[in-house]
């Protein structure tokens, strides 16, 4: 089974991350997100009451990416309105400003690509994040960027259309750059930019299944 061989050991769930997500009180107002018609039992997320239907096959995966990009875009939109950003040094202002634009561009891109198949705007609740506090903002940014990378990594093998796979590949590496930049702000000059908490002994980054990511999101609440 080639999938078994190349499956990184690092896909084992990170207990600390899950704990963090459960403790933090970011929330998505929708009761949940779920995929339909996913053909991998392990990754099947059963329908949830009042959940947002992502759709099946590639549309489902694009909506999944769109949901994550909505979350990230909403987060950075709030960051640049906050006290941390207002008082940040030039370097951090530049980085946060760029990240806001990148994530907004990703979000708008998916919305346009999905057209009438796009899910509605998600309502997000960032009340647990103190946007005046540097560590609160950077800690949340790290969580979102790391989650995004693992989510794209996990979704890639299910994408059927080569063009969509290319788009996902062009975005996931940028998300990983974001994660590295945020991690370096948190711990400058360290090896955290590509830390052992993310990258396994095979040199591979984490891969989260749909259900790992989707179940993490509502628990963000």
């Amino acid at each position: 089974m080639k999938n078994d061989l190349i499956k990184p050991q690092g896909l084992v769930k990170d207990a600390n991350r899950r704990k963090f997500l459960q403790k933090g009180s970011l929330s998505i107002a929708a009761a949940g997100l779920f995929m339909v018609g996913c053909n991998d039992d392990d990754d099947y997320m059963p329908p949830m009451k009042d959940g947002v239907m992502l759709g099946s096959a590639d549309i489902g995966i694009l909506n999944y990416a769109y949901a994550l990009e909505q979350l990230e875009a909403a987060f950075y939109a709030a960051v640049i309105q906050g006290g941390y950003f207002a008082n940040a040094n030039a370097e951090e202002k530049q980085i946060m400003g760029d990240l806001e634009k990148h994530e907004r561009a990703h979000k708008e891109f998916f919305k346009a690509a999905l057209g009438s198949s796009a899910i509605a705007d998600l309502e997000v609740d960032f009340s647990a994040i103190d946007f005046d506090d540097r560590m609160s903002v950077l800690g949340a940014a790290k969580t979102f960027e790391d989650l995004g990378v693992a989510a794209y990594n996990g979704a890639g093998k299910f994408i059927q259309d080569a063009g969509y796979l290319l788009i996902a590949g062009k975005i996931v590496s940028v998300e990983a750059r974001h994660a590295a930049a945020i991690r370096d702000l948190l711990n400058p000059g360290s090896t955290d930019f590509a830390g052992d908490d993310l990258i396994d002994a095979n040199g591979l980054e984490r891969t989260f299944s749909f259900s790992e990511v989707l179940s993490a999101l509502p628990k963000v609440a």
């Binding site: 634009k101 907004r104 891109f109 095979n202 040199g203």
Partner: protein, 104 residues
């Protein structure tokens, strides 16, 4: 080779060592995949010459078209940010063209 050169200091060394470890792991897993999963022969390690002048030309770096859409027009976001927001692929010839600069 870079790490052994003795010119890298302190925190930079830690970062480069971390990167080096990841690249070495990638070689191992790719060797495994090519050899044992795909049943082919992994290429031999070539001899490198890193003294060549680097070529800072990477195709597509300024691209703002993604999936057939001009994302600057779609979003009103400046072209610098839009091009940064998507990495661009290189095809085999482009990759080998750049890599071959460093082959002895």
């Amino acid at each position: 080779m870079g790490i052994d050169a003795g010119v890298i200091e302190g925190a930079d060394m830690a970062s480069l060592k971390n990167t080096s470890d990841h690249e070495l792991a990638s070689i191992i897993i790719l060797t495994e995949v090519v050899g044992n999963v795909l049943g082919a022969n992994p290429v031999m390690e070539p001899a490198f010459d890193f003294t060549a002048a680097t070529q800072a030309i990477y195709a597509g770096e300024e691209n703002v078209m993604h999936g057939g859409v001009d994302v600057t027009q779609l979003t009103g976001i400046d072209s610098a940010a839009v091009s940064e927001g998507w990495d661009e692929p290189l095809n085999k010839d482009q990759v080998l063209g750049i890599a071959s600069l460093f082959l002895a």
